[in-house]
Amino acid sequence: GAGVSQSPSNKVTEKGKDVELRCDPISGHTALYWYRQSLGQGLEFLIYFQGNSAPDKSGLPSDRFSAERTGGSVSTLTIQRTQQEDSAVYLCASSLVRGKAEAFFGQGTRLTVV
């Protein structure tokens, strides 16, 4: 596709359930980021993938959060045992090179934990 694609666009889940959020980056982009935006907050960095290097997981808020990127392309963000404070818009972005290049964002997945 032409842009970064995320699915689902909306997800409502019950507290305690696990969720998986998917990101298809722009073809050829080696860098992939996950951010989240909680209500009234800025974009919070979660995790960064660059090529085959070990991901930068420094932004993951707890061990309930994990992410993987298969084949250097599609990425999945998994949240286990969801809590109400996990409710947010989860945004994925990709860029052609690491660091100093603008990242292209997907439309986000709005997660609501009830």
Binding site: V4, Y35, Q41, G42, L43, F45, K100, F104, F105, G106
Partner: protein
């Protein structure tokens, strides 16, 4: 602790006038700065960037100014148009990680 701050949550400007959006950061190691624009229900889209070796970057109606000593950057939109109405995020960082502000909602009044 917010490393990038946008202290004005909203701004209203008349069409044709200048919009000035401000952003402050705390980490003097940040060497690259970006502005993103976000419409409702869409992901942010890149607008303009500046590296720390410059103090100004211009792209059409959009100009970003960087004051490293004050750890401050601003985005000027001249002239403002109704289609510019959106939430504007500034981002700052170094290397892999970028930190975003909380955004400023700009409304351009026709």
């Amino acid at each position: 602790d917010q490393q990038v701050k946008q202290n004005s949550p909203s701004l209203s400007v008349q069409e044709g006038r200048i919009s000035i959006l401000n952003c402050d950061y705390t980490n003097s190691m940040f060497d690259y700065f970006l502005w993103y624009k976000k419409y409702p229900a869409e992901g942010p889209t890149f607008l303009i960037s500046i590296s720390s070796i410059k103090d100004k970057n211009e792209d059409g109606r959009f100009t970003v100014f960087l004051n490293k000593s004050a750890k401050h950057l601003s985005l000027h939109i001249v002239p403002s148009q109704p289609g510019d109405s959106a939430v504007y995020f500034c981002a700052a960082g170094a290397g892999n990680q970028f930190y975003f502000g909380t955004g400023t909602s700009l409304t351009v009044i026709p």
